[in-house]
């Protein structure tokens, strides 16, 4: 009896230690995250301008598609409330998914050589940048989303944002939004890592932003593409960004389909992070610091 309880406690102690070890290992990344989040929340005036702009954008987008719907109601691939919710969520959470919001500091540090300081720190550069991107995007989104969503809920009928069909789809929406954010950041990380191999990342950035905007459903939502093209696009990693959570919210994706698309999100996260870390390792081996 005595020995049994002893072994039990030593076992828990081991467990506690393991948690502590993991916590200690990740503590530095959490503090990066917290630091960035606090800094980001300071820019309130910029956020206010952003909110006004996003609001007008959303409103005009919905007006435009409403005109398309009246021109040919049968061709509209989703219910109009679903579309309105899609657009308002897109505008409210813009900062989570837009690829033009890449970290210019990272590109600059790669170009001007400040990267060498960061490499001196006892942290993994991939994880650090990951933590930083999460914090920057989340702080921007936190400031902007509430007012936009609030107003969007109280708009008149065809333009208003609606509630999700049930609590389950709302929970799935939250989880898949986190997954989508991770996919977005992991894809951006690939671009940062690839820019180690070029002197100027300008061209890479332009092409990358253009492709992601079109393929993640930022220009027009994926259901508006020709059906055959849409089927291919849904398998690409870009569809796992904003397309999935925004359509789960309104119930446009539901049931077994939800499980399928969220699994696909997870698969892409694993692949993208693995590839990113591989490129990172290769880059670290051959980094030539350009700046003086």
């Amino acid at each position: 009896m005595n020995t049994l309880s002893l072994s039990f406690t030593s076992h828990t102690r081991y467990e506690v230690n393991a948690v502590k070890r993991i916590y200690n290992r990740w503590k530095k990344y959490f503090s990066f995250f917290r630091l960035r989040l606090v800094t980001g929340l300071q820019y309130r005036a910029a956020a206010l301008a952003g909110i006004a702009t996003q609001f007008v954008w959303g409103f005009m987008e919905i007006k435009l598609f409403y005109a398309f719907k009246t021109s040919d109601p049968d061709a509209f691939p989703m219910r109009f409330e679903q579309f309105a919710s899609y657009i308002w969520l897109q505008q409210a959470f813009l900062a989570l998914f837009m690829t033009w919001l890449m970290e210019n500091e990272i590109f600059d540090s790669i170009m001007n050589g400040n990267i060498s300081y960061e490499l001196c720190r006892p942290v993994d550069i991939y994880n650090m940048w990951l933590a930083r991107s999460f914090a920057n995007r989340m702080s921007r989104a936190l400031l902007r989303c509430v007012p936009i969503l609030l107003v969007a809920f109280f708009l008149p009928a065809p333009y208003a944002m609606t509630l999700p069909p049930d609590i389950l789809s709302f929970v799935c929406f939250l989880i898949s939004m986190l997954l989508g954010l991770t996919v977005t950041i992991a894809i951006c990380m690939l671009v940062y890592m690839l820019s180690f191999f070029t002197v100027s990342p300008q061209g890479l950035k332009i092409v990358f932003v253009m492709i992601t905007e079109l393929f993640q459903g930022e220009v027009i939502p994926l259901p508006f593409f020709p059906p055959r093209m849409q089927r291919v696009m849904e398998l690409l990693p870009f569809a796992s960004m904003e397309n999935v959570p925004l359509r789960i919210y309104s119930g446009h994706i539901s049931g077994n389909e939800t499980v399928r698309v969220m699994t696909l999100q997870l698969v892409w996260i694993v692949i993208l992070i693995a590839v990113g870390k591989l490129i990172c390792r290769a880059a670290m081996k051959k980094t030539v610091v350009q700046g003086g």
Binding site: T53, M60, L64, S200, Q202, V207, M210
Partner: protein, 266 residues
């Protein structure tokens, strides 16, 4: 002895040539940015294309008619940005105090601000606009009489004038706020994005705003009605001339701002 005064136009051309020459020192960067401009607006075009593949028509407008509208607005905006970039970035001139330097020179300050920048990189976007414009002109089934060609030219001039006016207005506001108002982006970038479609598709209230508040539709919607044969009223063809007046009040605001201006730079 009195020195001969160089004419304003000569001076402006001199400014442009300096700007272009300095840009050409970084040829690769210039070409990259120009290509970027070309591609950045390409997505907007694809968006219109896919939507028309699905819906075929928008409030009675055909694909090529919308493209005509799209290319005209894109061209207006690119031209305005190319020539009026100095006003677009005016807030940095105020912040750094370089506008004080402008005021000490014995020449008109509008001319100097205008000459401070010439964005040739916008040629990428103009190129795309021209290609789409040619497609729109040839496929819209419009019978191109002399009057209609004039209308199209006036649309381009009027639209450019409106965007230039907004840039000047934004610059004038900098005298009071010291930094650019990001909200004005709604009037510039927003108009570029959503002005791709004739304004009446957005409903009556938006059309009202675009006629009486910021008169975009004078150079877009109304002359387009005449161009596409929706209206025979030839008066609509000359409405863009009214749009040419839009920069005037913006200029007054600017003059007012200059008079109130107290230096801010260090």
């Amino acid at each position: 002895m009195k020195e001969k005064k160089v004419s304003g136009l000569r001076l402006y051309l001199k400014y442009i040539s300096i700007n272009v020459r300095s840009m050409m020192q970084y040829k690769k960067s210039f070409l990259m940015t120009a290509a970027g401009q070309f591609f950045a607006s390409f997505n907007a075009f694809l968006g219109i294309w896919f939507l028309f593949m699905r819906f075929h028509t928008l409030a009675g407008y055909s694909f090529s008619e919308v493209l005509l509208c799209y290319s005209v607005v894109l061209m207006d905006f690119s031209l305005a940005e190319c020539f009026g970039r100095g006003f677009d970035r005016f807030s940095s001139m105020i912040r750094t105090g370089s506008f004080d330097r402008v005021l000490t020179r014995p020449r008109n300050e509008i001319l100097q601000v205008l000459g401070s920048s010439f964005e040739l990189t916008r040629i990428g976007r103009m190129l795309q606009a021209s290609v789409v414009l040619v497609y729109g002109v040839t496929h819209s089934g419009i019978d191109w009489t002399l009057l209609k060609v004039t209308t199209l030219t006036l649309m381009l001039a009027g639209g450019t004038a409106i965007f230039c006016g907004i840039f000047v207005m934004n610059a004038a506001l900098c005298f009071f706020t010291l930094e650019g108002l990001e909200v004005v982006n709604i009037l510039t970038d927003g108009a570029r994005e959503y002005g791709q479609y004739p304004v009446d598709v957005y409903g009556r209230k938006i059309r009202f705003f675009c006629t009486y508040v910021i008169p975009y539709s004078l150079a877009q919607y109304y002359p387009l009605q005449f161009l596409t044969g929706r209206s025979d009223n030839a008066l609509l063809a000359f409405l863009p001339l009214l749009a040419l007046l839009f920069p005037l009040p913006c200029y007054w605001l600017w003059r007012f701002g200059v008079r109130k201006y107290q230096s801010s730079g260090s």
